[in-house]
Symmetry: D2
Subunit: 206 residues, 4 copies
């Protein structure tokens, strides 16, 4: 296989990219000047060295921006440590953080647990979460675990599995658990929402 096809195959493994768009990426690179590809090549080498996984929340972060093994949020003294929000992926974390409405800590569980999954412990970092929750709760630093998962069957299944794994430590330290509230999203017309959404929207009226 020649370089064009090798690179096309590589790009077609990127999330959401088919062979056609992968080929288009290759042609795009070929029409850029040499610097563009060289800098991209360099960044690809650097990123694996520069970026670490936070030992506390498992969020990817640039080590150069932090001297500790913990990310900027976990090591920030001004965050409210009472609340720990558990999300599927870094992208979820980023969107919530961007909104600026949450000042607590996070935990990136690293995936979803599909319905009927036989080895859920291989899909998500449930043990690591359990250890973190135990550690913080035993220091009186945690009061509530918020599950911020996708609003679909796999997200719900992830919550059920994770809550099960946490059950002993939740009970031991009398922690509160919660899930994000359902309701009307931006753009909704009342003609369309399902029962669950209308119910939550009515209960959460203000």
């Amino acid at each position: 296989m020649d370089t064009i096809n090798k690179l096309t195959e590589r790009f077609s493994q990127f999330p959401g990219i088919g062979p056609r768009q992968a080929k288009r990426f290759v042609y795009f690179l070929l029409t850029r000047n040499k610097n563009f590809s060289e800098e991209l090549s360099q960044l690809l080498l650097e990123i694996k060295n520069d970026v670490s996984v936070c030992t506390s929340c498992f969020h990817f972060f640039n080590e150069t921006t932090s001297s500790t093994k913990e990310c900027a949020i976990c090591s920030n003294q001004n965050r409210n440590t009472d609340t720990l929000m558990v999300v599927h992926r870094d992208a979820d974390f980023e969107n919530i953080e961007r909104s600026g409405v949450y000042n607590g800590l996070y935990f990136i569980i690293g995936g979803t647990v599909p319905l009927l999954e036989k080895n859920p412990e291989q899909r998500v970092r449930s043990k690591e979460l359990s250890t973190l929750v135990e550690s913080r709760a035993s220091q009186n630093k945690l009061k509530e675990v918020v599950f911020a998962f996708s609003v679909n069957p796999d997200g719900e299944n992830t919550r059920i599995y994770t809550e099960g794994v946490l059950a002993p430590v939740i009970k031991k330290y009398s922690l509160k658990t919660s899930t994000l509230g359902r309701g009307l999203s931006t753009g909704t017309e009342l003609e369309y929402p399902d029962i669950e959404t209308i119910k939550s929207a009515f209960i959460n009226r203000q």
Copy 2:
């Protein structure tokens, strides 16, 4: 203009129907047996006679299913009269009623008030709503008005206008007003929602 084109033109005034689909409706009718068109023709005459507008909530209803001038909901003794939910249209009312989560009364305001509208009183039944609220509140039969409008700028503007019109009577009888709760709708992944939605979802966590 011949009958085919006359009927096409008529159907193309139906909501969401362009001339092409209107013509398809005509051909559809031509390929049905004569009974189909005759029954449809008859129903069109009957509906204007059989259906009334409820004098209380302005919902369309079949008179034959009710002996009073009020619809089945307004005249139902088992509904909770403490709460009045104001919606744009009958279709909104129907979806909420279908969900089964609400047992109070409704008011169909009959439209939306677009931003910058100069004659909002011609767009929605704000006077009729004000009269109803005054009448029920004066009989101690109403405690809360719920605005269940579209979650978009026109829906928000409808709420602002309507709340302004109701302000004197709201104050006089110390009524509560509310809007349906924002939050995560079915299918949401946390990577995408806007600030307002995330904020509400966090506040309304449970």
Copy 3:
């Protein structure tokens, strides 16, 4: 069932209309003045009387616009009778006629023959087409039959079946048969078309 639901059910039988849009049609009619429904009701009665099926091409047409049993096209002396274009439905006929590029005659075969259909003769007017072709060819009035069917498997199957039924008369009078040309449609970028389309486009280059 009350009138609102009866009429909703009727509209939801219209092509492409689900129960939700059908209900919207009913509310639309209820908010129009009485005249609108009455005129529509009247048109529905008239159309079955005013409109005939052309005895030659099976196209629906307003009798009032023609004194014969044939439609305006079949009875037009200026049309080129050498060519007969066979289409699925009236809507196809209309679009081709609207384009103004064809001056021959038509035949509405009335449907498609799906793959694996066991009773194709009940799906399309193949006998009537055969009779018409025989009649015109025997008077030396026909030279070519053009199949203008959908470019998909069912359209292709309709052509195969119809051509089979016509085979004896095609042979007897040495008629030509043809199908519409494949090629690049408006908006095409050359990155996307399938082999068949590219092949035809290259052969039919001009």
Copy 4:
């Protein structure tokens, strides 16, 4: 700016990729093992060295697969040199070549000429095309130039401009020019095509 954001910014310059998907690419790379990024990094360096632009048709090709300065098609003795097909981009060339219906030569003109463009010569390789056509025609090796451009206003404008530039040499050597044929594309129902498409489909019937 840290490495994560630098790489995100780079990816968001890729065709069709917004900042959100670019960030997703970065997280995807971070969750792969180190080899994946290293190989990708290496390929990005190699591609600029391995891939050349054909001096004849301007198609990108791997030098390692060819010992000459011309691509495998231009240097293939079995291709029919009578016909030269001019396309916008490499992706167009690839799709036509994949179809296997064309055995002539190509020329990648490198872009489109938008309507009202003031410097069309900076958008497409019209001079290089003119030189190639002159050179081949003078050796009696070329009879027809096929314009295979997008079927839209910019594609048509590209043809008009290119044909103008070529006019002297076309005339001098009495070359034929052609454009790919219009007609029904796969999936078409006859109810929808525009006049131009129906006209071509009828003329090109077979």
